[in-house]
Assembly symmetry: C2
Homo-oligomer: 351 residues x 2
């Protein structure tokens, strides 16, 4: 059973404006280290899966960027979606395409814009999940032990060891982004993980589940692979649904591997700020910054020098044509600026 | 007696970094309205003095910029100093040059980077001062009624009406930048004005005072006008002293015209911030800014869009290659960033 990797790289990254742009979303940014998050995602599992076994699903506008970022991946394996339909259609498209070439394939599905600080541990877990899927079948997820009652993530409840191994837990249920009180109870109980959005499974088992739980998607994707020139029409009709909600919540034999891997989806500037090293005054910089009598300030710049005098508790993001100054507790609200720009017709600052 | 204008345009504007740069200091900025401060200074007295009676004294590096800004002023009347020696040498150089053409000249001396909001009143006062100088001789200053105990300005103490007119006060003494307690007492007494750095006098009377009080300067300037090719050597030897300290404090027949003219030297971002119109949340912008849930924020940009989410009490200055974020009470401390840049060798951000 050959291993295949499906990288999901369709994000539009509005929460990272102005660093990310419509034409340069988060997966292409160099937020940590000197590679794009997309490259880092591929490199993480380079020892497990070869480049000619990788598919990247992205927006049609980003196909060229992906090809430029990952030049060794065959161009035909970069799938460009004419509109974003959430994760189930993206994965189903890649899966159907892979299945026609290799019906015995085992798939690893990874988002392209997450940080994983303990790369070795993740590599071992991914290897384990692919082996388990090959050996036993079933759907494997990677569960992050929650550090706080995050309301922006989905949760996975565990249900006891599978295969006689506490490192593989059966899944009792998936919980979508919960209200705060619910999140607090879940975290306190110790029975829940964050759903990191990474999966491993056999391609044929996945496609059977799509057929069973999302038959319209199964039909649409089969039609798409048979008639690629009809992509616009077919995508217009596909159900926009996540793999979690559309497949995992319904599937049998779903497992979670507790994953202490230093994971972060880096969904906001706040998350990015937490990942940066800080000086004695709790200031952190990604790019060139000068701090004078300032504390707990995070500066992220892709070019301009950013300097501070006598301020504290701020996030600042600077590019050559746009600057964002943000209270640390408002990092979810960047979209309000993006909305204002759209309404004001300032599209040049979004591209 | 013909009227001549001397504009002092040698400032290097470090307090306005990054908006001002070594090669683009404050007098060339468009801080208020759509003209540079230098142009505005000239235009303010356009009805009093013709372009061919204007001298501008500036740094040698800025001569071209001044010529570009004020194209109708004869090039020979833009004097470029090889180093800044404070105001007395600048004015003396222009005065000596004018005196050789027109020994009866009456001079109006204006800094090039101040704001005067009540232009009509100022025009009448300048006209008055020039008339008084022509008629009676003496040195005329323009005194601003203090609104707060500013420690960054010089003060002028009045000594009773001159020429039987309360609108022209004799000057008792000049006070250099005072400590705060002294400033508070002066403001409370009602007998002191801020020294706005603008003057009117007869050129021959001024040059006599230079000869009397600053003989080394008188010699240097005479040598300079006789031997312009020796400018480097001569400037290296000139005493660096202000007209206030070197001349006005010593001269007899010094007068102050109380000047309710909406004056501001716009010496800091704080001063500029006070001049900008504010919205209901006390936010102000010079350039394109978006405020989301923010208050008492001042954004000054010469290009980049600046956006705010959930912050308050900030000054932000943005250019394409440098951003400054400043606490409103730290507006005097911009130089600390400039110092850090110089020490760090980041000269590209200063030019």
């Amino acid at each position: 059973m050959a291993r295949w990797l499906v990288i999901l790289a369709g994000g539009r990254g509005e929460r990272f404006w102005p660093l990310s742009r419509v034409m340069h979303p988060k997966q292409f940014l160099t937020l940590i280290g000197d590679k794009s998050m997309l490259e880092t995602t591929r490199d993480r599992v380079a020892t497990l899966i070869d480049d000619d076994h990788i598919f990247v699903v992205t927006g049609v506008d980003y196909v060229e960027k992906v090809a430029h970022n990952l030049p060794r991946i065959p161009q035909s394996q970069i799938l460009g979606e004419p509109r974003g339909c959430n994760t189930a259609p993206s994965i189903a498209w890649a899966a159907e395409t892979i299945h026609r070439r290799d019906p015995e394939a085992v798939l690893l599905v990874l988002p392209s814009d997450h940080v994983i600080q303990k790369a070795d541990r993740f590599l071992r877990l991914a290897d384990r999940a692919l082996m388990l899927a090959a050996e036993h079948g079933g759907f494997y997820t990677f569960g992050i032990v929650p550090t706080h009652p995050e309301t922006g993530y989905g949760y996975i409840e565990k249900n006891g060891a599978a295969f006689g191994d506490a490192a593989v837990q059966q899944v009792k249920r998936f919980i979508e982004k919960p209200p705060r009180e619910v999140a607090e109870k879940m975290v306190a109980s110790g029975r829940y993980f964050w759903n990191s959005g990474m999966f491993a499974f056999r391609v044929n088992e996945f496609l059977r589940a799509v057929r069973e739980f999302l038959p319209a998607l199964a039909d649409g994707i089969a039609a798409l692979v048979d008639n690629p020139w009809r992509i616009e029409d077919i995508f217009a009709e596909l159900p926009a649904i996540s793999i979690d909600h559309g497949i995992m919540e319904n599937a049998r034999s779903v497992y979670v591997l507790p994953a202490d891997i230093g994971w972060d989806d880096v969904g906001t500037f706040g998350a990015l700020a937490r990942l940066l090293p800080r000086d004695g005054e709790q200031n952190a910089a990604h790019g060139y910054a000068i701090f004078v009598e300032s504390e707990n300030v995070t500066a992220i710049t892709d070019g301009p020098l950013v300097s501070f005098v006598g301020v504290k508790d701020l996030y600042v993001v600077a590019t050559h044509d746009a600057v964002l100054i943000l209270s640390p507790d408002k990092s979810q609200d960047v979209r309000k600026v993006v909305e204002a720009l759209k309404q004001g017709g300032s599209h040049e600052h979004l591209l």
